[in-house]
Amino acid sequence: MALSGMRGLSVFISDVRNCQNKEQERLRVDKELGNIRTRFKNEKGLSPYEKKKYVWKMLYIYMLGYDVDFGHMEAVSLISAPKYPEKQVGYIATSCLLNENHDFLRLVINSVRNDIIGRNETFQCLAMTMLCYCSYKDIKLVVDIHTSFMAPNLGMNFSYLSNLLQMFQTMGLEVGWEYWRREFAESLAPDVQKLLISSSCRPLVRKKAALCLLRLFRKNPDVVNVEGWSDRMTQLLDERDLGVLTSVTSLLVALVSNNYDAYWSCVPKCVKILERLARNNDVPPEYTYYGIPSPWLQVKTMRALQYFPTIEDPNTRKSLFEVLQRVLMGTDVVKNVNKNNASHAVLFEALALVMHLDAEKEMMSQCVALLGKFIAVREPNIRYLGLENMTRMLMVTDVQDIIKRHQAQIITSLKDPDISIRRRALDLLYGMCDVTNAKDIVEELLQYLSTADFAMREELALKAAILAEKFAPDLSWYIDVILQLIDKAGDFVSDDIWYRVVQFVTNNEDLQPYAAAKAREYLDKPAIHETMVKVSAYLLGEYSHLLARRPGCSPKEIFSIIHEKLPTVSTPTVAILLSTYAKILMHNHPPDPELQGQIWAVFNKYESCIDVEIQQRAVEYFALCQKGAALVDILAEMPKFPERQSALIKKAEDTEVDTAEQSAIKSRAQQQQPSNALVVTDQPPANGSVPIGPLSLVKIPSISSNADANLADQELTHANGTLSKVNSQSARPTSDLGDFLFIEGPPDAPAQENLVSGLESVSNAIDALALTPIDEQSNSVQPIGNIAERFHALCLKDSGVLYEDPYVQIGIKAEWRSHHGRLVLFLGNKITSPLVSVQAVILPPSHLKIELSLVPETIPPRAQVQCPLEVVNLRPSRDVAVLDFSYNCGTTMVNVKLRLPAVLNKFLQHIPLSAEEFFPQWRSLSGPPLKLQEVVRGVKPLSLPEMANLFNSFQLTVSPGLDPNPNNLVASTTFYSESTRAMLCLVRMETDPSDRTQLRMTVASGDPTLTFELKEFIKEQLVSIPLVSAPTPLPSQVQPTSPPVALTDPGAMLAGLL
């Protein structure tokens, strides 16, 4: 092999392999890296052979997972070596090591280009392999390749062409869509098509051409919008060479998945192929795989057929079903694993096709029978696919009853040693569950829960809970299941699940004694999960009086058994327990002085608790207890909950909850809190119509458990609120109400604060503003803060406030990656009435492609909505995108135009360069338009370190010491856009120490527009430094001058921009 000659490398590898542990290995590797580093420093003495050897060592070290952060230049330089082995390692190393740093490649661009347009096929291969891996982004290179591809003298060089094809389509991943559209789709596709159709081409080229066309098609479906193309496809399916035919079928799959209508004529051909393979066995030996005639082609052909809605033509249908029947019946499980895999690949595809074609009932039950056989075989792959396909079958046809016959076997699969299979079994059981078998299946799941591995428990618990709720034959069974679930897998039972139990029990009187008794039973267990403590405490607080006659269920006994758990539970649960104690006390008639004493002692103890919620409850309940009879009314049983969709089922339906909605709910809950107290005084609502607490509570599925606990507390506070309404309706004397408010009012505030602190900052000032009456408005809404300053600040950082006025706050958060950006606009309504007719329109400049997701027309009171925004930078330009934002608040219509901070420097990325990297590059870019120089006057005086800071904040990397003149400053950066891809930019500033207001600036890059735009950009920054360029410690005498565009007047600003 190529490496056998390098003894040093072999020695090193065996050394590493002999290391006893990771530490030894690291030591050995570090030693070697040190050695290589020293050798590379004295590069002059290195022969190409030695270089090659060291680079191989580096590659080996890199493969072991160690960081190799030097020697890249040496590796790259091997690319220009004249001999094949050195060149090869150069290319391989470059493709492995330099993935993240494309700009290094610019240094060898000429070598690569020469290799590609040269006549040496091997070198071409190497160069193209590298391009495949590195996805080098230089359009020019592509154009070169394209040109040579079109050159007639290369027309006959087939392997060269096939290599080019490979590279084109790999690069197609990286080269932007627009470019493909313009350059390739229109000019290249016809040539590829010709290659594919041409009978004189070698199969090697033709199969690559087919796949290349497929890739082109994915980029732009228009490439096959050629008259007569579908006829050609039909002809191509007559191909004899199975390699070409496989590729053509892949292409057909892509085409028909997009639009099958044009390709109906291909259907009979596909059936012919299947007949040729499966029936006639007309296949050359090299395409027979373990005795199966080209399984891939069979699979692909059947896949293609599945994209046609049905097959009408009776003859074709008949022939197809004959083949399918043969496949279904003729496949057996044998000993050879590979043969099994191949034959079953075909078989499962045939099953899928049968299902798709909606065959006769007879054939369907035949399929189910087969699947039933499969899920019991020894071969795990087949068991897995059997279960998966059964699940699929559930969805497609009404064969549930036949599948149910295999329920026992499926349940056995739940205990399969392979977790992949267990998961499939769980999915299938979940899918096949209905009222008739829910009891069996759920009980199986519960039983399995105690032995199931950790990775599956959560899913299992959730699925069991959902099934129990969906298909419960009776409610007591449902209670049993959920309590068992909490008992066995408490950690995986979300609060939603026990809230739901409480709702059911509250709304079903018949269920209450049963639930209470069950809860009491669980409390006898020695160690129970905290969730169990919560739910049983709640249930017993409400309903334990219904059990009073039973043994062990006197109020005293109930209290003491619950109280036993108190030392072990967390704060939110303590709060629930306190409520339970109050309720027990309330139900205790006539009061048992001993019990009363015990409970009062608990309240007394917690009156000084550090947790404000617990303290509040202790104080309140203690005070309420003194009220005697009034307590009964206030702590009466909870009223029924309104009917609502199960949060759990909802969660199953939409696992992903819009975060905006969440925050809206949160802020609504927060807002409603004080309003309840008000409700008590002047407008008693219809009973039970305002249970916002529990409602929002159940509706928030995926909030952290902390927040849930918070809300749970709130619910109980609300419970009091709700009851107080009952109170007010029963016409209590106002003095009582006053007392109540006195107790209830103040503690609300801290609870609310608790919530607020969890939310995104709503400053006090805003709160104050929110109190402004809505209809009393001045005509013009004044923005808070300086819009221009905010914009400039955001040019340098990625999150902050873009705009704020008394009603609305627009925050922004951005992430930038090469030429892509993702911004999220946070539109926050600061007031207590909704903002309507909200509109946000982006006016993008021509160089940015911006997609704004849908902005809701209304922002609910105190809510915040998030609008993601995708930005793609097409070309270098300093133009700025504008957000045209408007809304109505009451009678006021507000419209602002805001610049979005998607500015040029967001597409820059730091890149440090050493002298030997910088200068060749600097020299190679000579003169306009790639290198531009300008003397700039009227510059804000900045010292060199200050200027360096400023540059750094714009992602320009300053390389100190590169320029021999200490008054000069040299910087480098990478600019990303779709047209330039990653482009290295070099900047040099020559300052005059005697006059800091002028300097000479030179900017160079490989793209004339980029050079110009970057130069102008830097000039703007230097001439007017925005006030808030935070990271720069500006001298105090520097005053911000007016920014280049008038910012306060949106109209003028727009005019300036567009």
């Binding site: 220009s80 020469n114 790999t170 991943l173 499962f348």
Partner: protein, 165 residues
């Protein structure tokens, strides 16, 4: 479409990683690690399928095959047949076996360029290019012949090698 091909040894060291969608190198490493964590916890004689949704996103599938000290892993979307992918792994390994005569991990450590060459003739931009290991060998041998021929003579113009000066 095939999204990725990986060869990882039983100690979690990657021996080959080819991603057919653009993927930054750190992400590649992270994915390889996550795949290895899943694979190394799987006993022998289990199925060759692993749920990959949590690693590669929804609708992706992963099949792997364990040969001696190496895991061969293919990641692909639901437009491919799982068992056919498993067959393709077998073809890949059989072809390597023909190349190296009883291929072992060391062959691959030292000759991963060859492994890439073989793979390039089997999968082309995420699509199955050739499924017959005989045909793949033909193509590989053709390239090797070209390589050997060009080894003797230098065809690179002088100006190219002097780019650095």
């Amino acid at each position: 479409m095939i999204r990725a091909v990986m060869v990882i040894n039983t100690q979690g060291k990657p021996r080959l990683a080819k991603f057919y969608d653009f993927m930054p190198v750190e992400k590649q490493q992270e994915l390889i690690r996550s795949v290895f964590v899943v694979l190394c916890s799987r006993a022998e004689n289990l199925s060759n399928f692993v749920e990959a949704d949590s690693i590669f996103g929804p609708d992706t599938r992963l099949v792997y095959k364990h040969y001696a000290t190496l895991y061969f892993v293919f990641v692909f979307d639901d437009s491919e047949n799982e068992l056919a992918m498993l067959d393709l792994i077998q073809v890949f390994v059989e072809t390597l076996d023909k190349c190296f005569r009883n291929v072992c991990e060391l062959d691959i450590v030292f000759n991963f360029s060859k492994m890439h060459m073989v793979l390039n003739e089997i999968i082309f931009g995420g699509q199955v290019l050739e499924t017959s290991s005989t045909e793949v060998m033909k193509a590989v041998e053709e390239i090797t012949k070209l390589e050997k021929a060009s080894n003797a003579i230098s065809l690179v113009p002088r100006s190219v090698s002097s780019w650095q000066s």
